[in-house]
Structure formats: C-alpha cells, structure tokens
C-alpha cells in the first residue's frame, strides 16, 4: 500500500451539462449526479450508450467512480476526455476495469469534455443502469490512517422469531462501515479535513478509497461521514482523529 486514503467530495461532474445517448424519460441521465445511488439513469439500449459531461472549461480530474450499475462482467466501459465535443479520436481514452460494486479510475487529466461509453450486449435487462458518477480531485492526507482500523460489513436486515424458533427476516442491503484512526495530522491536513467536513458534514456524500493502489474497487465506498470532526490535539499542533464512514445506497 503506497498511496494513502483518498477522499473525494467535490464532485466536478455535478455542475456539468449532461447529455447522453438515450434515457428513459422518468429515469433521465441527470440522475447520474443525484446524491442517491438508487436514483438511476436508465438507457433504452445496451450496445452503444454513453453519457457526456461538459465542465464549461478545462478542469483537472484525478478520480472517477461509478456506483450502482447493472453492467455485466462482459461490459466494455471506456472513459474519454477531450478539449472539444468531438469523439472520433479523443485526447484521453481509458478502458475501465469492471467491478460489480464500483468501477473506479485514478488519473490526472485536465479537459473540458468528458464522456463514458458503455457496451454490454449480453446484459439480461437489455438496458444499462447507472446510479452515481463521481469525479474530481480527491484529498489525500499526508499521513494515512493507523493500523488496526476496522472494516466492518453490516447486515441491517430485521429479524423476528416465531414460536418454533425459526427466524423471519426483512432483508436489507448490507453495507460497509469504515472506522479509522488518524494520528499526527499536520495543521495543513487538519485544514483540508475541516474543508471536507464543512462541505459535506454528516449529510453529504463522499467517495472513500481506503487503499487506492491494492484495493481500488473493493475498498472504495460511496459513503457518509457519521462522526463529527473531533480533533484530539497534541504537541506542535498535531491532531488525532477518529472517523467513521458508512456506505450509502
């Protein structure tokens, strides 16, 4: 693990002008930047679909993540970027690695126009659904969280027993809870954490990538911060911080 935790909360695509190849009118392409992952964009086909973002001016993108999709492992997903709205031979092209939970790419490219293409001819739904697309510049603290952090899988399903001991359950989607401890955080990083907290508080959303190098997909969650920003201050103004993130759908 070389890179530290990355926290993306300033989502550049949210302010973009969004267009797409197709959409179901009640589930339009604008839903890809809605806070709720469950509020999806649904296409009408599954072989040549795309969604495009015009940022208005060239902007740096260091991370792009797709949550809540119905793509199969046979899908081809390509991230493209260009200075102009022209896609015959865009300046940046990257085929993305499929993952059932999150399709994520760390990069460092500055362009005005961004596009993601989808081809998934074997999709049993015969359409493509995308829940949330997040892109922007992440915050990576200089010191990573400490060893011994908790990565907890939670099943919120509700259970109720019957006379014969069997248990009935109301199923709910399992989610990840990350409980992290940071120590010796510098004043500069403390300031960055405070900007993050002022931006999202306990109600906004961020993308938490706990190990971007070794576990880019499986340790990345679309989450909310569940704790306050409670610094335990030490000598020389270094601070310690306990943070809990919970995955959101």
């Amino acid at each position: 693990m070389s890179a530290n935790i990355r926290l993306l909360y300033d989502f550049l695509f949210d302010d973009a002008t969004i267009t797409s190849s197709s959409e179901v009118s009640t589930l339009p392409d604008g839903n890809v930047v809605h806070d709720f992952v469950a509020k999806i964009w649904r296409t009408t086909g599954d072989t040549a679909e795309w969604v495009k973002f015009d940022l208005g001016s060239a902007k740096d993108v260091k991370e792009m993540a797709i949550f809540g999709h119905n793509l199969t492992s046979g899908a081809t997903v390509v991230l493209e970027a260009n200075a102009a709205d022209s896609w015959d031979s865009p300046s940046y092209t990257k085929a993305l690695t499929w993952d059932e939970r999150v399709i994520i790419e760390f990069l460092d490219q500055t362009y005005r126009w961004w596009r993601i293409t989808f081809a998934d001819a074997s999709n049993p739904d015969e359409y493509i659904e995308i829940g949330r697309i997040c892109a922007g510049v992440y915050f990576e603290p200089s010191y990573n969280y400490r060893d011994g952090w908790n990565r907890e899988r939670v099943d919120p399903s509700e259970k109720e027993g019957v006379a014969g001991q069997q248990v009935y359950a109301k199923l709910r989607e399992k989610f990840w809870r990350y409980m992290l401890h940071f120590e010796d955080i510098s004043e500069a990083d403390q300031a960055s954490f405070e900007i993050l907290f002022d931006t999202i508080g306990n109600t906004g959303y961020l993308v938490v990538s706990a190990d971007p190098d070794d576990h880019p997909s499986d340790w990345t969650v679309y989450a909310q911060m569940m704790t306050s920003l409670a610094w335990a201050m030490r000598l020389l103004d270094f601070g310690s911080l306990d943070v809990t993130f919970e995955e959101q759908f």
């Binding site: 709720f36 469950a38 509020k39 027993g161 019957v162 006379a163 009935y168 359950a169 199923l171 759908f249």
Partner: protein, 547 residues
C-alpha cells in the same frame, strides 16, 4: 410472478402512488428505481393497515383508513401542497419484493381524505387516506315529486321522494302506494324507473281497473280519484335489468344499486365474486320499496346481513363473499409461522349468543307494517344456558316464508354455538391475505382447522400481520349435504389418507374425530328430524338440522 411469501427472508418493500391532477408521485420505504421506469423516493412510512369486518350481526367491512408519513426534511414536498390539490386524489399502496413491479400486489386503494387529509410540520407530511367505500355512496332515491316536475301533482305528495322498487310485489299480500302526478287526468306514478309489469291497482284496498299503462315510466291512470280521501296502491313487478328481466335476486339488487345509483363502473366490481356468491346461495328472492331516502351503503348492508354476505373492497374492487365459505384450505399457518406469544382464543367476544330468535319480515309499504313473523328457540340451549337469550331480526328485503325461516334458524344455530375467535400474528405468509380468506390453522388444539380471516392488521414496516380468525367449522358449512344416509366414496377416503380398517362407505361413529371431520367437510350428511344421522352418532346432533 407475484410476491413469494413462502420465503423466510424477503426484500420487502411498500410502494405508494399518489395521483394528483397532472402529476403522479411515487414513494417507497426505500429509494427504489422500479421496473416500470419510475423512481420511488424513499420518503414513505406507512402506519399499519387494518382491514376488518364488523361483528357477525353487522357484516360490513369496517372503515379502512391509512396514514402515510412522508419524510420532508429537505422541504422538497411542501411546495407540492400549494401547487396541487391533494384532497380526494387517488392513492395506491403496493406490497412486494425487490425492484420488479410484477412482484408487487395492490394491497390498498383509496383517496386522500377531504377535508382534513393533510397535516405537516417542518419534517414530515402526513397524508390520511380513506377507503373508497366511505365516499362512494348515494342517497336513494334521489328524485323528488315536485310541482315543477309535475304541475298537477296532488298536494299530499309534494316533495316526497320518487321511490325505487325492487322485486316482485305481486307475490303475496304486499302492495305499494302510488302517487297521483296529475289530478286532472288521475295519472299515477309508482316509482322512478321502468318496471316489469302492473298486476292490479287498488283504490282504498278495493281492486279497480286501470288504463294508459306505461311501464317505461311506471305510470297508469284510473277513472276517478279524490286526493283528499282516496289511497291508491298497486301490485306490480319492479325494476328490470339491462336485458329487460325483472330483478329478483338480492345479489343482482346489490349490483344494480352500485352501478345504477352509486355510479360504480362495472370494472370496479369483482364480477366473479358476485357470480360465485349468487351461485352458492342459489335461488333467493328479495324485494324492497324504497320510499325514504337511505344511504346505498345502509341498503346494501341490509341485504348482506339478511343473506349472510360479506361485502368489502379487495384489490380496489367491490367484492362479495358468502359467509358460509368453502372449507377448502389453500394455506395453513402453523408453529413455523405464528409469532411467539401471539396466539389466543376467545369465545363469543361480541356477546352474540342467542337461544331464541324472532324474525319480522315481508314489510308492507301500504300499511307500513311487517306481515310475517317467525319465532324459533332451541330448548336444549335454553336449558343448558339456564336462561333465555333473545335476539330479533328484521328482514327488509327477504320476504318469502321458507327463506326467512331457514335463515333465522341458521342464525340461531350460529349464535347459540358461541363462535371461537382466534388471534395470531404471522410473518410474511400473511402479508397477502385479506379478510374473508379461508386459511388452515395447525396450532394448539387445532389441526388443519379451516378458519376465516375476519380482521387483519398489516405492519408493512415489520412485515408482521396480526390476524383475527373465526372458527368457521364451529358454525357453518359442515359439509356438502346429502339428503339421505351419508355414503363416502371408499377410494377418495383412501386417497385422503384414511386407509385400512377405518375406510368405508358408510358412516361409522367409531371413526377418529379427524376422519369424521374430513368426511363431513367433503361429503357431508343430512340429519333426520331427530337431529341425528343414520347410523346414529352423537357427534352429528343438530349440525345439519336446518340446512
């Protein structure tokens, strides 16, 4: 496909669809993009839906009301309250699993209460929804005899309702009053609609001839009439159906009131339930001369009470069910379904017990009195109870001696039996159940015992269903009756598991209780006048005496 309630774990959700004028709102207990292409915002929390029949003596469905609480902490909905009319707008509540709408069932349909249907604070909007039966009714009759309508109307009939007349008023001794709508030509009108026939006109109870008979407008004329001193009555046959056939069956009368007066579309009536119920209760004749304004709901409930029907709304449709249901069990609740400490049994909690009954029937609109009277009692029950407990029934629709007396006798049998009422709470296998459904119960002293659901309270949030059951075998439909000594097909008894020495073609009082129950349910028997079947078995005493 529908919801698979046999699973022990369900991704259970509740969807709410609110149809405002020009805008449909979709809500759920969680954020869900459904297969219909709509996003159901996860704002809804629904109070438990309680659906119930009233007591045995009042078989109507209790009013259903439901509260839907919508989370509006982001303030997104409050502007909709001003932008749209919410009162009386349609609301559908669906229960099911996952994101595929085909796995969902419409469990409740109603309208937002108006007025006083919306309550909001800074965090939530609470929507009160009412059952369609509470607003779909009519006051019958609607027409009025006025001087504007009939310039030469007799003075004593001004502003009286123009009656509605169902059934055969030539049968027996009942007559109905007619109103002189033109004293210059002595023209009379019987009721507000076309009628089937006029048999005889009477003036001051003396048969007279009439002329200018007009069945379409229910009119006729007579030669002389003194509005101050004469009374004209008539024997006639009342309202016709669309095929010009006289309406005589009580089920047809319910349907006619719903469609013709309340304005219910035929598509909103569960026609198969009406047809099945009509077939099951068989030939039955009713009649009623409705001359005072009464709610259609009251009238329909009168019919249901007399004929032993349950009338309710299921899946958004008006539905009928005969109270003597099939004992065929589609589904059984046992110890794997029943939640801990939720099982209890009470006996006759509505205190309906009776051992003597009196029926008044065949109401005579002309004389304004009942012409029929029937008293029945069970001396053994009186002796057992050490007191006489008396109830009375007034029949406003049924009028024939045999039918009224049979129904009164059956009601006595029912009410003297002190019906057992069972309460249980079950999980998912109860979620799609509804009142009037028959389920089996295997718990405590019961084994595959047919029970009818009389009340169900569904907690959509927990997926728990509190159900009140009637032990229907204790008082109704003990079998398919035979008019002779019972004979039970050997092969079928064997198929049902009663093999070996216990199988046989004739009743044997040494059979196990369950075997007797099975035979009785599936083939039945008919007791003799002494109350026993042959060969005599104490278990058969009086169980079919009045059927």
């Amino acid at each position: 496909m529908g919801l698979d309630t046999t699973k022990t774990a369900l991704d259970l959700h509740c969807l709410v669809k609110i149809e405002l004028t020009g805008k449909t709102l979709y809500y759920a207990d969680r954020n869900l993009a459904m297969s219909d292409g709509n996003f159901y915002e996860g704002r809804a929390k629904i109070s438990a839906l309680n659906v119930a029949f009233n007591s045995l003596a009042e078989p109507k469905q209790r009013q259903v009301s439901l509260k839907i609480t919508l989370d509006d902490r982001d303030g997104a909905l409050i502007s909709l309250l001003d932008a749209y009319q919410w009162g009386n707008r349609s609301v559908g509540v669906y229960i099911g699993e996952g994101r595929d709408l085909s796995n969902y069932t419409l469990d409740f349909q109603g309208k937002i209460r108006f007025p006083d249907g919306i309550l909001f604070d800074g965090h939530h909007i609470e929507v009160s929804v009412r059952d369609r039966r509470t607003y779909e009714y009519a006051m019958i009759p609607s027409g009025t005899y006025t001087a504007t309508l009939y310039p030469n109307l007799e003075e004593k009939s001004k502003n009286l309702p123009i009656p509605i007349a169902y059934g055969d008023w030539t049968d027996g001794d009942g007559t109905c009053p007619a109103v002189c709508i033109d004293i210059t030509i002595n023209e009379f009108k019987i009721c507000a609609h076309a009628i089937f026939s006029i048999l005889q006109v009477y003036k001051n109870d003396i048969a007279i001839s009439h002329t200018d008979e007009n069945l379409t407008n229910a009119k006729f004329r007579i030669s002389t009439y003194d509005p101050e001193n004469d009374t004209v009555t008539v024997k006639f046959q009342g309202k016709k159906d669309a095929g010009d056939v006289l309406i005589t069956h009580p089920i047809d009368m319910i349907e006619d009131m719903l469609t013709d007066y309340v304005g219910i579309f035929s598509g909103d009536i569960d026609n198969s339930s009406f047809a099945d119920t009509k077939e099951r209760i068989g030939d039955l004749a009713a009649r009623r001369f409705i001359s005072d304004r009464v709610s259609s709901t009251t009238l329909i409930m009168e019919v249901c009470n007399e004929v032993n029907l349950d009338f309710y709304v299921k899946n958004g449709k008006y539905t009928l069910n005969h109270r003597e249901p099939d004992v065929e069990i589609e589904d059984t609740f046992d110890e794997t379904d029943i939640l801990r400490n939720s099982f209890s049994v009470s006996v006759d909690p509505d205190r309906l017990y009776a051992n003597r009954m009196r029926a008044r029937y065949r109401y005579h609109p002309g004389d304004q009195k009942y012409l029929g009277d029937y008293l029945i009692e069970d001396s053994q029950a009186i002796s057992d109870a050490l007191e006489t407990v008396y109830r009375k029934m007034d029949f406003e629709w049924l009028y024939r001696d045999v039918e009224v007396q049979a129904i009164t006798s059956r009601r006595l049998m029912l009410q003297k039996s002190q019906i057992a009422v069972i309460q249980v709470a079950v999980k998912y296998r109860g979620i799609l159940k509804f009142i009037a459904d028959t389920v089996g119960l295997t718990f405590s002293k019961y084994t595959q015992r047919p029970m009818q659901i009389r009340e169900i309270s569904k907690d959509f949030d927990r997926g728990t269903n509190e159900i009140t059951l009637w032990d229907i075998l204790s008082f109704v439909k003990m079998g398919h009756w035979t008019e002779d000594d019972p004979i039970f097909p050997d092969a079928t008894m064997n198929d049902a598991g009663w093999e070996g020495s216990n199988s046989g073609e004739t009743w044997d009082k040494t059979w196990p209780v369950l075997m007797k129950q099975y035979a009785r349910q599936h083939w039945g028997y008919w007791t003799d006048d002494d109350g026993y079947i042959d060969p005599t078995d104490p278990d058969s005493l009086n169980v079919s005496l009045w059927y």
